[in-house]
Amino acid sequence: MKTSNKISLTLACAILAGSLALSTGCRNTESTTGAAIGSDTEAAAKVFVAPGKHDEYYSFLSGGFNGQVDVYGLPSGRLLKVIPVFSQNPENGYGYSEESKPMLNTSFGFIPWDDLHHPKLSRTNGKPDGRFLFVNGNNTPRIARIDLKTFETAEIIEIPNSAGQHCSPYPTDNTEYVVAGTRFAVPIADGGGIEDVPLDTYKDKFRASLSFIKVDQASGEMNIDFQILVPGFDFDLANGGKGPSADWMFFTSYNTEKAGTMKEIGASQNDKDYLAAINWKKAAEYAAQGKAREIPANYYHNKLDHKTHIVNSTQKKTVRVLLPEDCPGMMFLIPVPKSPHGVDVDPTGENIVVSGKLAAVIPVHSYTNMIKAIEDKAYETTINGIPVLKYESVLAGEVQKPGLGPLHTEFDAKGNAYTSMFVSSEVVKWNVKSRQVLDRIPVYYSIGHLMIPGGDTQNPDGKYLLAMNKITKDRYLPTGPELAQSAQLIDISGEKMKLLLDFPTFGEPHYAQAIKADMVSKNSTKFYRLDENEHPYATKKEADARVERKGNEVHVYMTAIRSHLAPDNIEGIKVGDEVYFHVTNLEQDWDVPHGFAVMGNQNAELLIMPGETKTLKWVPTKKGVTPFYCTDFCSALHQEMQGYARVSEKGANVPIKFWLGEPKKGI
C-alpha cells in the first residue's frame, strides 16, 4: 500500500515536472529547482528579516484589476498595507464614507473601480524622494497621487479626451510633469470630448492624446497643463529622459496601422511601429506662448483636504490642446521593431531601450544620434506634420537573440540592463555598452514588468530585482481556478543572477517601485492631531457629543475613545431618515483606530484613525432597535464598545433623545 502510494506520487511529480518544462519552454532546467528557496539556505538567509526587524525597502506593487496599491517589504516579501485608490474598500470605508466618496467622482458619475497599472515615485533631482506615489487608472482615465506620509490617496484627476490610459503616470526627472496617454484611440472632437461616430471611421476620425500634468513642487497637486493631440496610434508605455535627455519624454506606440477591429492581426502588420519623442520643455513653451487652443472639456479633480479629511470634487470645464503640426521641433517619431511595450532610458540618459514584444532583437537608440538626426533633418517621412527619423540614424545598436517577448527593461548601477521576456519566461541581463547578453534566469511564469529599486532613475540601487509574473499555475498551494499572481525576488548584486524568494501578490501587479525604507518611514504620520481637526462635524470633547435632527436628516455627533461610543443610546430615529454618524476618534496615540458599523446598513463600515472624523450614512429600513459597535479590536473592553439606536415608524412621535451612562439632555 505504502509503496504504491509512493510510486503514484513519483509519477505525479514526473508529470508535473514535464508539464512545467512544456509550459515555460524552459531551457535552463538546472536552476528551475536548483536555485529555488528551501533548497538554498543561503538564499533564505538573504531574505530573512528577523521578527521585530524592518525590511530594507518599501515596495509598491500595483494591484491591476483590484484598483489598489499593495505595499510589500523587501527582501522579505511581507505584505505591509493595501492602499485603496480607485476601488472602494469596505475594510476601512474608503469610497463609502461621506468624506471619501467624492474621490471616485468622474464625468461618468461615481466609479467604484479601476484597473491600476503603473506606480511611479516622485523624484527630486533624478532621485526618488519618497514623498508621493503616482498611479494611473487605465479604464476610466485617471491619475492618482498617494501621500507617503499617510499612505492615503490624496488626489485623483480625471484625464479628458482619453481612453485606455496606459502610458502613465511617468514623471519627468524632477517631477515637473507626469504624463498620461491613450492606449485606445478614440474619436476626439475638435471641440473636445469623444464623438458618436460610426466605428468604421477609425482611420479618419480616431485620435490619441498625450497629456502633460503639472505637479506642484511643494504640495504635489496635479493640474493638466496641456494635451498634445496626435495620430490615432495605441500609445503603450512611456518614460522620461534623464541627465542630458531630461527635457524629453518618450512614448511607445503600436497599431500605427490604425486597425479598428481584430487588432491582434491588424495591429501586427507593420514591421516597424514608432517611438514618440516629445520635448516637453518646448511643448510647455509653446503652450505658454499661446500656441495651445483652449477647448471645452468635462473632467473631475478630487482632492483630500488635509485639515478636514474631506475630499472636495471640482468639475473642470476646459483643457488646452497643442497640435504637433503647429509646434515644430516639439515631437518626432522614431521607428522601432513592431509592437513595442516598454521604453526605458538608462541611468546616463543616453541609451533608449525599446522592448518590442514581437521583435527578435532589442534596439538601443542613442539620444546623441537622435539630436543629430533632428539637426540633420534625417527624416524618412512626416505623419500629420510630425517628422519620422530614420531608424538607422538614431540606432546605437541591437541586442541580438535576447530571448522571446522582451517587454520591459531596468538598469543597475554597473552599466547593465535587465529585460523581462514574456514569451520565454525569463530575465535577461545584458551590457548596455556592448549589448552582449551576460546572463539569463527563468521566472515563473511569463513575466510582465520587472523592477529594480531606482532602476528607472539616474541612481539605481542594484541589489535586488523583482519579477512580476502574469501566470502562477503550480507555484503555490492551489486555491481553485482563481490564483494569486506570483513574484520572484532575484539577487543581482553578483555576476550571476540568483533567485532568492517566491511570493504571491494580489490583483495583477503591472509594475512596482521600491525605495530605501528610511526615505519614507521617517516621515510616516502616527496619528492626526485632534486640535488640528477642522472637520465641520468634528466632536472634540465627549461632553459635546449630541444628536440633532434637521428635517429628515439626523446628525449624530459621536465620539469614540477606549472603550465607549458617546452617545451609546439614541432614540427618535425614524424609518427612512438619513442618519449621519459623524464619528470622531478622540485617541491621540499610535495604532488606536476605532471602527464603526450599524446593523442592516446598506453601506460599509468606518475605520477612524486617532484624531480623525469620519461619517457613515445610514437609512434605516426597518423599525425596531439597531445595535452599532466598534469593529476594530481596540482594547480589553472592545467587546463592550457598542450601543443602540431605536428606530420608530415613519411619523411616530418619539423625540430625539440620547445618552451615555445615565440618561441626560434631550432636544
Binding site: 475613545i561 477606549r562 485617541e587 491621540q588 496615540d589 482594547s635 473592553l637 463592550e640
Partner: protein, 207 residues
C-alpha cells in the same frame, strides 16, 4: 564662616535653581504593547510625558482599574513649589552674603525639610491614586492596588512601573550635599588650628 562655605552655598543655590529647568522625577510604565514605554516627568511646576498626549494615554490605561484621571490642575503643589524654591534660593544667597554660621545651619535645615516634605507629598499622591479606586471599575482584582513604586521597579498587572529621581532630583540632592559640606566646613573652622588657615586660603584660591 569661611569664604569656601559661602561659595559652596552659592553652588548649592545653583543646583537648586537647576530644578527649574529639568524634571525632578520620572515614572516609566512599560508594557508589551507600549514599545518604548510611557514616560511621565514630574517638574517643579508641571507634569509632562514622552509627548504631549502621554497623560491622556496613561489615564486611558488607568481608567480600566478605576484610577482617577491625572491632570496637572489637580496638584496645587505645582503652583506653590516654584515659589518655595525661589525663596530657598533667595535665603541661600542671603546666607552666602551675611556669612553667618547659624543662619547657614538654619538654611540647610530648611532645605532638608523642604526636600522631605516634597518626597512625602509625592508618596502620598502615589498612594492616593493607587488606592482610591472607583468601585465600578471594569477591572477589579482582589487585594490589588496600583501605586507605582516610590523609588525602584514594581510590576502592576501587565505593566512594569519604574520610578526614579530625574536630573532635577539629582541636582537637589547635590545641592543638599554642597550645603552640608558648607556647614561642615563653616563649623570645622572654629575647632581648627590657625596654622591650617593658609591651606584653606589656598583651596579658596583654587576654587
Amino acid at each position: 564662616m569661611k569664604k569656601i562655605s559661602s561659595l559652596l552655598v552659592i553652588l548649592s543655590c545653583l543646583f537648586v535653581a537647576a530644578t527649574f529647568f529639568v524634571p525632578l522625577w520620572y515614572i516609566n510604565l512599560e508594557a508589551p504593547q507600549y514599545p518604548g514605554g510611557l514616560q511621565m516627568y514630574i517638574w517643579l511646576s508641571q507634569i509632562t510625558g514622552t509627548d504631549e498626549f502621554t497623560l491622556q494615554n496613561v489615564n486611558i490605561l488607568n481608567h480600566y482599574v478605576g484610577m482617577a484621571p491625572i491632570h496637572q490642575d489637580s496638584f496645587v503643589e505645582l503652583q506653590i513649589m516654584p515659589y518655595v524654591v525661589m525663596v530657598l534660593i533667595a535665603l541661600g544667597i542671603a546666607v552666602a552674603i551675611i556669612r553667618n554660621r547659624k543662619l547657614l545651619a538654619g538654611w540647610v535645615g530648611l532645605l532638608i525639610v523642604s526636600g522631605t516634605v516634597g518626597l512625602i507629598d509625592f508618596y502620598r499622591w502615589q498612594q492616593a491614586f493607587g488606592n482610591n479606586l472607583d468601585p465600578n471599575a471594569p477591572i477589579k482584582i482582589e487585594g490589588m492596588t496600583y501605586s507605582p513604586p516610590f523609588i525602584g521597579v514594581k510590576t502592576l498587572l501587565n505593566i512594569t512601573a519604574t520610578s526614579f529621581p530625574h536630573l532635577g532630583g539629582v541636582a537637589f540632592g547635590l545641592a543638599l550635599l554642597a550645603a552640608i559640606a558648607a556647614t561642615y566646613l563653616a563649623f570645622k573652622k572654629t575647632n581648627q588650628n590657625p596654622a591650617a588657615l593658609p591651606t584653606n586660603k589656598l583651596i579658596t584660591h583654587v576654587l
